[in-house]
């Protein structure tokens, strides 16, 4: 298996050992340069890669999606796994992880060097915005910041949330204001359970929220919701709770938190919500969502599960399509296409939160994103093809996705979290805030 290295700026593929991108000439960050071919999950030999051997991921239309947690009045069932309907969905969606043996005679690839993590202090750890925590460091390169500009690459540094990056060994998130909006109303939060934790060791937790622009203080809404959701989710996992139960509990608490900042129901900050819990050992991924922020599985090899959208938007267009009233194309052309039919906020009324679990066969990546990205790449395969090898180089991939969305017009805030599967082992080394 080969790690695909991509330039974080122009997303062109770069060769092993390259210091500069051949296309744009930009210096490649050390994590791209030093990425080594790793074989954390050995794959079957090439001749067995016939299409029929390709594992499925989401069988049938809409299988993983079902109403689950009622957030009405913020009273929530926290025992979703007892629901027979959900058992059925899981049975359909879950695939065994294949761990093929290395063919005889093929030498083991060199082990990943210790220095895969960037040699410079990452601009941000945990999910704190880059700027407030490390005003002295560039968010794009290893340089330091002087008068607001990087003394190495020269880029004007983002202030506050204009451009935020979260880097851990197991997940990377990039959030950007885009080109049209005055502020970034998206938010993200990433947590990694310590590798030596007795429960869910190394599990990766990520949440992306997109502030509803028609609501007041939606930047605050998304930040509080994402932080609450990720914190509660990680804490529940540490206590040994089942990922599905933890996902539901986190959504309830997140919804409470955002409802709590409303001055009145008529002036209620609101946002979307999508979370992922990824088990480092099995790749089993539990997704929870309300609204139209999405989760995707991106296939990283021909032997992996095919790329798939893991969520179904709580949007007017999706509802029209589901009801058979409109075709997807017709629905998307409508002025209402992006109108939400569910969100988190004090004015949301009774809403249905969705939870689904899949176990993809890796390698690949779980990606959470706001519509600032998926508007340009709605299809899972198109998203996969846009940045090949996202799971192998999550940091470069997250930046490349943001860069592509900006190049496509950057009409909305853009947030992308990339979680490689299999995850980087050793969550304790993923520095947390």
């Amino acid at each position: 298996m080969t790690v695909v290295r991509t330039c974080p700026v122009c997303s062109d593929t770069v060769a092993a050992g390259d210091v500069f991108c051949e296309r744009c000439g930009r210096t490649l960050p050390d994590d791209v340069r030093e990425a080594r071919d790793t074989d954390a999950v050995a794959t079957a030999p090439q001749e067995s890669l016939a299409d029929q051997s390709r594992p499925g991921l989401v069988p049938g239309d809409g299988a993983p999606t079902a109403p689950q947690v009622s957030l009405s009045g913020l009273a929530t069932s926290e025992e979703p796994s007892g629901d027979p309907e959900w058992e059925a969905v899981d049975a359909m969606a879950t695939q065994p992880v294949r761990r093929a043996q290395r063919p005889a005679g093929v030498p083991a690839p060199a082990p990943a060097p210790e220095g895969v993590a960037p040699e410079w202090p990452p601009p941000a750890t945990g999910s704190n915005p880059v700027q407030p925590t490390n005003p002295g460091l560039c968010v794009w390169c290893p340089g330091t910041v002087l008068d607001g500009y990087c003394e190495k690459c020269g880029f004007l540094q983002p202030t506050g949330r204009d451009h935020v990056e979260v880097r851990t060994r197991s997940a990377v998130g990039v959030s950007d204001r885009g080109l049209r909006h005055r502020r970034n109303e998206d938010a993200m939060a990433v947590r990694v359970v310590d590798a030596d934790d007795p429960h869910a060791p190394g599990s990766v937790v990520a949440v992306v929220c997109d502030g509803v622009s028609s609501s007041p203080r939606s930047d605050e809404a998304s930040r509080i919701t994402a932080e609450t959701g990720a914190t509660v989710l990680a804490e529940r996992l540490r206590r040994g709770e089942d990922p599905r139960a933890a996902t539901g509990a986190a959504m309830t608490r997140a919804a409470e938190a955002v409802a709590g900042i409303a001055e009145s129901p008529s002036s209620a900050p609101a946002c979307t919500y999508v979370s992922a819990v990824v088990d480092p050992a099995t790749g089993t991924t539990t997704i929870g969502w309300v609204g139209d922020s999405r989760a995707y599985w991106l296939s990283g090899a021909p032997t992996s599960s095919a790329s798939a959208l893991l969520t179904k938007d709580d949007s007017w267009s999706e509802a029209m399509v589901q009801a058979g009233a409109l075709s997807r194309e017709e629905a998307m052309r409508s002025a209402n296409a992006h109108a939400l039919i569910a969100w988190m906020g004090a004015d949301s009324g009774e809403i249905d939160a969705h939870i689904s679990t899949v176990t993809p066969t890796g390698p690949g990546a779980v990606v959470l994103c706001s519509d600032g990205l998926w508007n340009y790449y709605p299809e899972a395969q198109a998203l996969t093809d846009a940045v090949p090898g996202a799971g192998a180089e999550p940091h470069g991939a997250a930046r490349a996705y943001v860069s592509l969305a900006l190049k496509a017009g950057g009409k909305d805030n853009i947030t992308v979290v990339v979680i490689p599967v299999p995850t980087a082992q050793g969550g304790h080394r993923a520095e947390q805030a």
Partner: protein
């Protein structure tokens, strides 16, 4: 050698940048006009730290009227030197002969030394050849013991250099930047290119032609006075550029065209120090072109960070006097991205004008009338377009202008040598445009919010 002006004598520098920072997607060539303004107090008494060497060509060809005028001029310059300035007078022929003082050193100006020097100038005799490299080497030796302050030389010649060109070049490379030299050619037997080479290596204010020996004294007095007005030496323009950026060129474009591109010294990482010599109260403009790797739309880059510095030793103790940012921002808005800043356009034209004149005159000397007509025609059009009336007038003495707008011209059958040399010498003098008043840039103010 670093120069540390007194706190009281500290000049005030200001940097202003004119540019269109918007770039089309996928492009990375950034142009800016950097205007540097200095306002320095006039130094008197003990705070005067200046050295002046006056070099007068006394080769055989100077005999007669020219030598007499040169004596008058040297005296005028000596009279313009303030008390406390270190000075010497050198006669240049096949060697560099000390006229005052007799020994190889500089002496302080006071009533006695000034009177002695004025007398000594009377002993100048015209004899021998022209070896400008030797004269400049002597000046450099005289300046060597002086470790700070303004070091300025005035060089007067009337003829071509007799030295082998490679020897002349070797000396220029050795002395480049160690002092500032203003050159004057008298008559029409000297070569503009030679004085331009000296001017460029020693960061002079542009070579000058003294057509009438009678004008020499006034010209020398003005040069000496200008030199006395300088208060800070060895000023560098430090240009920082981003990682992976390439500096295409750095040119002084006003008051004269001077390409500094090859003169950068890297004293601090990612930055080149371009020597600018000494400064008094004055304005100079620079055209900077940097190629940066293209960025994402909406991203803003500091494509160049310009600082006016007096470099300290070993890159420490640098004294930064002023700074400014050359920015780049990518946009899909074609109209915004392709607009050319008026000052960038103006100086691009002025640099092309200088080149067109030099090419045209060179072709004319070589008998290539087609090229001469085309290039001088282009020069006429550029001078007309930019309102450079002085150059336009000088051009009219060399060509008959049929249409100044299109640059249609005919070469004059006979041209006075003085007119040709005056045009050549002055080709690098540009017309300055004023920087836009600060804060009038369209759009939001750049920089971190």
């Amino acid at each position: 050698m670093p120069n540390r002006p007194d706190q009281a004598g500290e000049p005030e520098f200001r940097v202003e940048i004119d540019q269109n920072r918007f770039l089309p997607i996928g492009r990375g060539e950034v142009h800016a006009v950097v205007s540097v303004t200095s306002n320095s107090p006039i130094l008197v008494g003990t705070s005067v730290r200046a050295s002046e060497v006056i070099i007068v060509d006394t080769s055989g060809s100077m005999y007669g009227e020219k030598l007499n005028a040169a004596k008058q001029a040297a005296r005028a310059a000596i009279e313009a030197l303030r008390d406390g300035v270190n000075f010497a007078v050198v006669a240049g022929h096949r060697t560099a002969q000390m006229i005052y003082p007799a020994e190889d050193r500089l002496v302080k100006v006071d009533a006695r030394t000034r009177a002695e020097a004025l007398d000594a100038v009377g002993t100048l005799r015209a004899d021998g050849g022209t070896r400008m490299g030797t004269w400049l080497a002597r000046a450099a030796e005289l300046f060597t013991p002086v470790d700070e302050g303004i070091k300025h030389a005035i060089l007067l010649t009337d003829g071509q250099n007799n030295e082998p060109p490679e020897e002349f070049e070797r000396v220029l490379r050795r002395v480049a930047g160690t002092f500032v030299c203003d050159c004057r050619g008298v008559g029409t037997d000297w070569k503009v290119d030679e004085l331009r080479r000296i001017d460029s290596a020693l960061l002079g204010g542009g070579p000058g032609i003294i057509a009438d020996p009678a004008d020499m004294a006034a010209d020398f007095r003005a040069m000496a006075q200008a030199s006395m007005g300088k208060s800070v030496a060895d000023v560098a323009l430090r240009l920082w550029t981003p990682h992976n950026a390439v500096v295409r060129y750095v040119k002084q474009v006003a008051p004269t065209v001077q390409d500094l591109s090859g003169r950068a010294v890297e004293r601090v990482p990612q930055a080149g120090d371009y020597p600018t010599g000494s400064w008094g109260t004055e304005n100079r403009d620079y055209h900077v072109c940097v190629e940066v790797p293209p960025g994402d739309p909406g991203r803003q880059l500091r494509a160049g960070w310009v600082r006016v510095v007096i470099p300290g030793e070993h890159g420490i103790d640098d004294h930064v006097l002023a700074s400014g940012n050359i920015l780049a921002e990518w946009t899909a808005d074609e109209a915004r991205a392709t607009e050319i800043n008026p000052r960038v356009a103006h100086y691009t034209g002025q640099v092309e004008l200088a080149q067109a004149i030099q090419d045209g005159l060179s072709a004319r000397r070589d008998g290539d009338e087609d090229v001469a007509t085309t290039r001088l025609g282009r020069a006429v059009a550029l001078a007309h377009e930019s309102g450079n009336e002085e150059t336009a007038k000088l051009l009219e003495r060399v060509v008959d202008v049929i249409d100044p707008v299109t640059g249609t011209v005919r070469l004059k059958p006979t041209v006075d040598k003085v007119d040709e040399m005056t045009l050549d010498t002055n080709s690098t003098r540009t017309v300055r445009t004023r920087p836009r008043p600060s804060g009038e840039e369209p759009g939001e103010s750049p920089g971190p919010g």
